[in-house]
Structures are given as structure tokens and as C-alpha cells.
């Protein structure tokens, strides 16, 4: 590889030199040796054309990926965008991941690494495409130089450059070394392809990362094994904010394999042993004294009271105020009012929180599943008191993220704090499922009261939304909260176009948010505030449409004439679903539309409710306009995934608080959706090709309201609280 990349080589040499590497278990054989991921950049030589593209003599095109892969397909999508501009042979593309230390050393040449907010592709598409295009231009110029012909006479396809006039051809692999010596073109001056002409991007290509997920050989962070490694099991005070007072190591010191017990931070203790099973078993037997603190008396009932107070409290809560909604509603011919509530939720990634750390006096390194490798790097540096340059992060693909493994690097800090107390010894820290449920950054709890006024003709003249609930920013980024206001909580009700704009025009509109924080840690959860806000807005609009005697689709259409993109997506969902056409007996439809993460979503659900109240979701049609559709098959996969995550929450999901702590500690009382409950899902992608929207999160916000509206159609009664397992439908 080109010598301009010493930082990556240095970062990877450590792991290559120090560890014997096995690439995981061969089929049928037993794995011997150690399992650590190869830092990909060190693998094989090649000509580096720029930070994104390396071409090898064997024609393999290596595309570098800075964002995290957690199942959402960003790795494949980004590679498609680079390959499209590069004009290489897709079958010869491979990828390698960039480490945050390499990015830092290269002055962030790879840009942002954080992978959340459905930004992985949309906020890096421009510079990665320019990287691919710049590499193509250099390869073409190298061929032109070789043949002494004008570059304008050359054509390229699938990594083969041809000169028609002389009948010559040469491959990328053959000119790559010469191309790498050329001055790179100014990326900003490069004309990118018209997406309408795409041949690789925009196509439903297979994922690049499926193979090793089929035979158990894919290495997740939980699978890392290093020479001399010990394992740690941790427990934090079950009451949020409580403290660790003491623990009695003598009581477990004689247990098999136990090496020690250590204070991790002021609320956490770890047991370290030869195996994790030994560590976990010993931890369960460890006498621990907690100071549970003032929050030990908090319960879901006291939290509900706190939130309900926010529905009627007076204060400067307005986030959006147009016209005079209270007056318009007070004077309206017909008034509609409803109050909704949604609970805390855990992420429950299938791979529990874990991190392997090795810390010595002058260096620290971790092997970690992270949505934000730079945040992991910073957390490691801070926790160990070592400069970033002495800290290395080996990131592994995540066994689920959903927002849990982003900015909050609590598990990295814990692993580093344990490893510091065992200098030079690699420590794999793994949370039990119970610990993972007990110490999440939960989707916040909220309640919402909505009021509407209809005039004599059934037209909506005023809408008043009063949201009361916990603020994510107040917990994770308090510096962004000013005067108790947090605009983020009203995501989806915003006026500005482009991100999370309300698709309805209402002459008198008041959107208020009363912040009511609790001691429970909160954070982003797939779809974040669009989840609850989508339920509140879209279920209420259905109630208003009923009050107006109007069809829910027709009623929405009249409010959406100034929002053509929202409307087109709503219409696409309705058309595919056959809105208004007959259904089998007992089956009813519901509809919803909402916007988040720069994309427009709509859904139609078909459900039945039996005479005993059993719900069955038969079919869901989801429409999405994400601007450009980089890989339609992976977009469909994300839409299907949003249905599973959303329906899990709607049907079953609830974290409750008793005595200051979480009650739902495993899947027996925090059930999640299973295959038998999954409806037939049809994805309708209606890209308008004039913007770049997100994909991973947008559609989740219409899943639950469309189902609840269908239930309303089936039973004649609205559902205003979740999860449905507590709602009697018959």
C-alpha cells in the first residue's frame, strides 16, 4: 500500500504482531488459537488512489468504509456508490473498515464515522462518490499517459479501459501503480454521474457481507479471544443514580476460575475470572451493598403522575405557534380531544453490550461493537487518561445497534476501567441480558394531549398538541437544552421542510412540549421521537377524520395539498394497498403518514380482531420516498425491519419502573415480536431523485399508527395507550 498511510499500518501492526490469528472456526473443525479480527487495511498490497479506493494488481478494488455496519446495509450501499463512479467490476469489489485512530491521524480524511440518525449514506454520499470518481479519472489518465493518447478518447467499463481508435485495452490493475503516482484531481471540480444513469448504485445488488453470517465464522466483539484474556461480568446499582458501597470478595474468592472483583466506577462492580461463565456465576453469589439513593421510591405510577402534570401545567411550552389554536378550537363547531401515552422501551440488541480492553501504562486498545468509533476512541482515552494517539479502537460489526451503541459509550468506559486494574491483561467484559435490560438508555416515556376544532363543513380549523415527557437531549446533551425547551422532542411536527416536517397545513396550530424528566436514562431508539409523535399525530388525525365524518385518507389529502411529497407517498401506499376496495370479512384497514430523517413515509395496515379480542396483523404496505434509492432490496429489508421493531413495541414493548429500577429483565417479561406475528410486508419505494433521505429509521413512525387506526376501524374504539398487550380489544 501507499506510504502515505503510515497511521493505519502502525495501528494494525500491533494486532498482527502480537496475536496469532485464526479466522474463526472452519466448518466442522474446532477452532484453535485466537480469534481477533484482522484490521483489514493491512491485508495485501495495492495502489492507493485516494483514501477511499485501493486497486490491487489482481484487479481487486478495495473500497474503504468509515461508517459502522450493524445490519442496515450501509457497507454495501456505500461501496455501490463508490464503485458506480469508479466504473470498476462489482464482482471484484471488497471493503475494508477504517479505524478512528487512522481517521484522526489523517486529519479526518474519512469524515464522520458516527452511524446514527439514518445518516450513514445520505451525509457521506457526496464525498465517497467523488472519491470513486477521482480514482477513475486517475486510472484513465494513467492509461492515456501509457498510450500517449488524449484521455478523452478513452472509455472504461467494469475496470477495463479501452481506446477504440487503436483497439487497445488495459485493466485497472495494470495501470493502478502508475495512477497512484499522479496528482489527484480536485474532488470538488468533478462532475458526478446523473443518478438516472447509474448501473451499480440504485440496483438491488446482494449484500457484500452475508457469507460469514451463514456458518458462524463471522467474528463479533463478543467472540474475540486474545492470549491470556480474562473475562468480566459486571453489575451496576439496579436503581439509576444509586452507588456501590461495598462488596465481599472473600465470599466468592474460592470459586472456580475467579481472579478478582473490582470497583469499576462509583456504581458498578465487576468480577473477573478465567471464563465469563465463571465470572457471571461468581457475580451472582457476590454480596454487594448498594446505596440506592433518593430514586429508590420512584415507580411507573409516580412517573405517570409527573408526566400527566405536564399536560395541564402552564408555562412557555410553545415550540410552534401559528394563528390562535386555542381560540379557534374554543369557537369551533365541533371539538375533538384525546390523550395518548407511550412507555419506556429497551433496545434489546441481540448481542448484549460488551467490549474487550487491554490497558497498560502507556497504551490502551479495545475491540468493540460501536455505532460511533470516534466516540469509543474518545471514551477510551478519557477513561484511561491517555492521549488519543496512544489509544486504538478495533471496531467489529455490531450484533444490533438501534441507537444503543452510539454516543453513549458507557460499556467502553466500564471495560477500560476494569482493564486498567489488570495492566496488560486483555479483559473481555460482557453484560448479561439482565444487565443489558437494567442499564439501557431507554426510549423516553411521554404522554400527549391533542385537541382539534372542526368547522360546520368538517374542515380542521385548529390543532393544539401538548406533549409531556422526558427529553433525550436533557440526558445526553444537556448543553443543547435552553430554558427547558428541546425542539428535538417535537420531531415530525416541525415547520421546516427537508427533515421531519409536518405534512399538514392547519390554519391555527400550537405545538407545545412540557419537559418532564425522570431519573431513568434515555437515549435514541430507532426512529427516536418520530415513533411516539407519529402515533399521537396519526391516531388523532384519524379520530378527527371520524368526527368530521370523513374517510381518513380523504381527510388527510385535504390537509396535504401544500406538501406534495408527503402526499405522493401517502397516495402510493393507499394505491398499492387498494384503499377503499373490499377486504375479506373481518379485515379492516388503517392508514398513517409521517416524516423523519429526511424521508417521507406512509403505511396501510390490514388487521382483524377476533371476538375474544385477539389481534392479527395480516398485511402492511409501506411507501417511502428517500430521494435516491441506493439499493432497493436493502431498503426493503430496512422497511421490513422497521415493521418488526415497531410492531414489537406496539404489541409487547414496555419498560416499567418499580422501586427505582427496571422490572423487565429478560425476554420472558420483555417479549419481542416473533416470526408468527410478522405480517406480509410490501415495500413501495417512490424515489423522486432530488434529495438524499435516510432509510434505517423513517418508516418505523408509521407502523404503529397504521395498525392502531386499523384496530379502531375494526372495533370502533380508539387505542390510546401502548403496548397493546394491556389493551382489551373485545
Amino acid at each position: 500500500m501507499n506510504q502515505s498511510m503510515p497511521s493505519i499500518a502502525a495501528a494494525t501492526e500491533l494486532s498482527r504482531r502480537d496475536f496469532i490469528v485464526s479466522t474463526g472456526a472452519a466448518a466442522g473443525a474446532l477452532a484453535l488459537g485466537w480469534s481477533v479480527p484482522l484490521d483489514a487495511v493491512a491485508q495485501g498490497a495495492g495502489s492507493e488512489l485516494n483514501v477511499w479506493v485501493v486497486v490491487r494488481p489482481d484487479e481487486r478494488c478495495v473500497i474503504r468504509i468509515a461508517r459502522s455496519e450493524m445490519g442496515q446495509g450501509t457497507l454495501t450501499g456505500l461501496a455501490q456508490l463508490v464503485a458506480e463512479e469508479l466504473e470498476c467490476d462489482w464482482s471484484k469489489v471488497s471493503t475494508e473498515q477504517i479505524s478512528p485512530q487512522a481517521n484522526l491521524a489523517a486529519k479526518r480524511a474519512w469524515g464522520e464515522m458516527g452511524t446514527g440518525g439514518s445518516r450513514g449514506i445520505r451525509t457521506s454520499q457526496d464525498y465517497v462518490r467523488r472519491g470513486g470518481a477521482a480514482a477513475r479519472l486517475m486510472l484513465l489518465q494513467a492509461a492515456a499517459n501509457e498510450w500517449k493518447v488524449p484521455v478523452s478518447e478513452l472509455r472504461v467499463a467494469d475496470g477495463v479501459i479501452t481506446h477504440a481508435a487503436s483497439g487497445r485495452s488495459i485493466t485497472y490493475g495494470q495501470v493502478a501503480a502508475a495512477a497512484a503516482q499522479l496528482a489527484p484531481p480536485d474532488p470538488k471540480a468533478i462532475a458526478l454521474k446523473d443518478p438516472q444513469t447509474w448501473k451499480i448504485a440504485g440496483k438491488p445488488l446482494k449484500r457484500l457481507d452475508t457469507g460469514d453470517k451463514l456458518d458462524g465464522s463471522k467474528l463479533y466483539a463478543i467472540d474475540v479471544r486474545l492470549p491470556g484474556m480474562l473475562n468480566a461480568a459486571v453489575r451496576s446499582c439496579p436503581v439509576f443514580g444509586g452507588k456501590l458501597v461495598s462488596f465481599d470478595f472473600a465470599a466468592i474468592s474460592g470459586r472456580p476460575g475467579v481472579k478478582g472483583a473490582v470497583r469499576v466506577n462509583d456504581s458498578t462492580v465487576a468480577v473477573v475470572a478465567d471464563t465469563w461463565w465463571h465470572a457471571k456465576s461468581a457475580l451472582e453469589a457476590l454480596p454487594i451493598q448498594w446505596d440506592e439513593g433518593a430514586s429508590a421510591s420512584v415507580s411507573s405510577a409516580t412517573i405517570a403522575q409527573h408526566l400527566n402534570d405536564g399536560l395541564s401545567a402552564s408555562g412557555a411550552f410553545a415550540q410552534r405557534n401559528e394563528g390562535d389554536a386555542p381560540k379557534a378550537i374554543a369557537g369551533a363547531a365541533k371539538k375533538v380531544e384525546a390523550t395518548y401515552a407511550t412507555p419506556f422501551l429497551a433496545h434489546a440488541t441481540m448481542e448484549p453490550m460488551n467490549c474487550t480492553a487491554r490497558v497498560s501504562a502507556d497504551s490502551a486498545e479495545i475491540w468493540v461493537p460501536t455505532q460511533n468509533a470516534e466516540a469509543s476512541h474518545a471514551a477510551l482515552s478519557e477513561e484511561c487518561g491517555l492521549p488519543l494517539a496512544q489509544c486504538n479502537v478495533h471496531r467489529l460489526d455490531l450484533g444490533g445497534g438501534f441507537g444503543r451503541r452510539g454516543g453513549n459509550q458507557d460499556y467502553v468506559r466500564q471495560a477500560a476501567a476494569i482493564a486498567r486494574q489488570f495492566p496488560g491483561v486483555p479483559i473481555k467484559m460482557l453484560w448479561s441480558r439482565e444487565e443489558d435490560q437494567a442499564h439501557d438508555f431507554y426510549r423516553p416515556i411521554s404522554v400527549c394531549k391533542l385537541s382539534a376544532g372542526l368547522d360546520a363543513s368538517g374542515a380542521l380549523v385548529g390543532l393544539h398538541v401538548r406533549l409531556s415527557g422526558q427529553s433525550i437531549n436533557a440526558y445526553i446533551a444537556p448543553q443543547t437544552v435552553m430554558d427547558g425547551k428541546d425542539r428535538r422532542q417535537t420531531q415530525g411536527w416541525w415547520a421546516e421542510p427537508g427533515d421531519a416536517q409536518l405534512g399538514y397545513a392547519v390554519p391555527n396550530l400550537l405545538i407545545e412540549y412540557a419537559m418532564r424528566n425522570t431519573h431513568v436514562p434515555v437515549g435514541p431508539w430507532r426512529g427516536v421521537n418520530t415513533n411516539q409523535n407519529g402515533v399521537y399525530m396519526e391516531c388523532f388525525i384519524d379520530e378527527v377524520a371520524r368526527a368530521a365524518g370523513a374517510d381518513p385518507l380523504a381527510f388527510r389529502r385535504t390537509l396535504m395539498q401544500q406538501h406534495p411529497k408527503h402526499l405522493a407517498v401517502l397516495n402510493a401506499a393507499a394505491d398499492r394497498a387498494g384503499w377503499g376496495t373490499p377486504l375479506p370479512p373481518g379485515v379492516h384497514r388503517g392508514i398513517a403518514q409521517f416524516m423523519g430523517y429526511g424521508s417521507y413515509s406512509a403505511a396501510v395496515a390490514e388487521v382483524s380482531v377476533s371476538s375474544s379480542g385477539a389481534l392479527r396483523v395480516h398485511r402492511m404496505v409501506l411507501a417511502l420516498d428517500c430521494g435516491h434509492a441506493v439499493n432497493p432490496d436493502q431498503i426493503a429489508a430496512q422497511v421490513e425491519g422497521s415493521v418488526a421493531y415497531g410492531l414489537s413495541a406496539a404489541l409487547h414493548g414496555e419498560i416499567t419502573i418499580d422501586k427505582g429500577r427496571v422490572s423487565e429483565l429478560n425476554f420472558h417479561n420483555y417479549p419481542v415480536l416473533k416470526l408468527a406475528e410478522f405480517p406480509k410486508v410490501e415495500t413501495v419505494i417512490v424515489p423522486t431523485h432530488d434529495f438524499w433521505g435516510g432509510v434505517g429509521e423513517p418508516t418505523i413512525c408509521v407502523v404503529t399508527p397504521s395498525v392502531l387506526n386499523a384496530i379502531h376501524a375494526a372495533t370502533g374504539r380508539p387505542v390510546r395507550t401502548l403496548p397493546l398487550k394491556h389493551v382489551k380489544l373485545a
Binding site: K206, M350, D397, L398
Partner: protein
């Protein structure tokens, strides 16, 4: 000391008999394709075959099996990802994050071993493993596809 037969290989591991088979496979044997998800037989990420039966290895004490019990893990399902279930999973790009897929594939393979042509209802009843990414629609389609591949192979 436990005597085991894993993927056709006999081995002995020094471990307490109440240790769950999952952790013996992962920590002593070194086969990490079998995953920890819940530890209480709820999620199925740890699914293996014991004498052809689908078992959740987090809840199987290693002392309850011996060298006469044939344990097959995801690593032993085929030598080269050629099992019809693995082929179908690849064809339909089933996995997202992939973490639960070892267990899903083992569950599907166990289903097809007993039922050559499972109906949707059979799949609903048999495939109870949790996937948080939401690959269920593709799992259903891939089980049907695997059944077809199995017939074609036979």
C-alpha cells in the same frame, strides 16, 4: 471433565457439570458461532442440534450430555455453506446484523429434517427464535426455498 462429541469430533473439556453447553462450546471448545442472547432459552441464538433435536444450549447443562450424544453446531452444519438452509439464506440475503442467524439456520435445518415441505403454519410454530433486525419475512421465504433446494438435491 466432560466428554463430548461436537461436529463429529470427540473431545474432553475440564469444566463443572452444571456449566451450560453454550458456554462450553464458546469458551472451552472455541466454537463461537453459537451465540449468547438471553441465557434463559427465550431467544434461540444458542440453538444447536443434539442427536438431531433442536436444543437451546444455554439451558443444557454440559453434565447432561456425554460422548454418545452427537452435538452439531452451526460450524458443523456443512463443510462449505452447502446445506440447503445456508444456500437459501444466502440466495435471499436473509441476514441483517447476522447475530441471531446461526440459531435461525439451526432451527430451520431441524425443521426441514423432520418436515420436507413445511407450510407457513409449520414455520410459524417451529421458528420461534428472536431476530431484532426483523428478517422474519425473508426467513419464512428462505425456509420454503430451502425445502425446494433439498428436494432438488435429493
Amino acid at each position: 471433565m466432560a466428554k463430548l462429541n461436537v461436529n463429529g469430533q470427540a473431545l474432553e473439556v475440564a469444566v463443572e457439570p452444571d456449566t451450560p453447553l453454550l458456554w462450553v462450546l464458546r469458551e472451552q471448545v472455541g466454537l463461537t458461532g453459537t451465540k449468547y442472547g438471553c441465557g434463559v432459552a427465550q431467544c434461540g441464538a444458542c440453538s444447536v442440534h443434539i442427536n438431531g433435536e433442536l436444543r437451546r444450549s444455554c439451558s443444557v447443562p454440559v453434565g447432561s450430555v456425554d460422548s454418545s450424544d452427537r452435538i452439531v453446531t452451526i460450524e458443523g452444519l456443512s463443510r462449505d455453506r452447502s446445506h440447503p438452509v445456508q444456500r437459501a439464506w444466502g440466495e435471499l440475503d436473509v441476514p441483517q446484523c447476522g447475530y441471531c442467524q446461526s440459531g435461525q439456520i439451526m432451527a430451520a435445518a431441524a425443521l426441514l429434517a423432520k418436515n420436507d415441505k413445511p407450510s407457513d403454519a409449520d414455520i410459524d410454530a417451529a421458528m420461534t427464535n428472536i431476530c431484532r433486525c426483523g428478517t422474519y419475512q425473508r426467513i419464512r421465504a428462505a425456509v420454503h426455498r430451502a425445502a425446494a433446494l433439498k428436494v432438488a438435491k435429493a
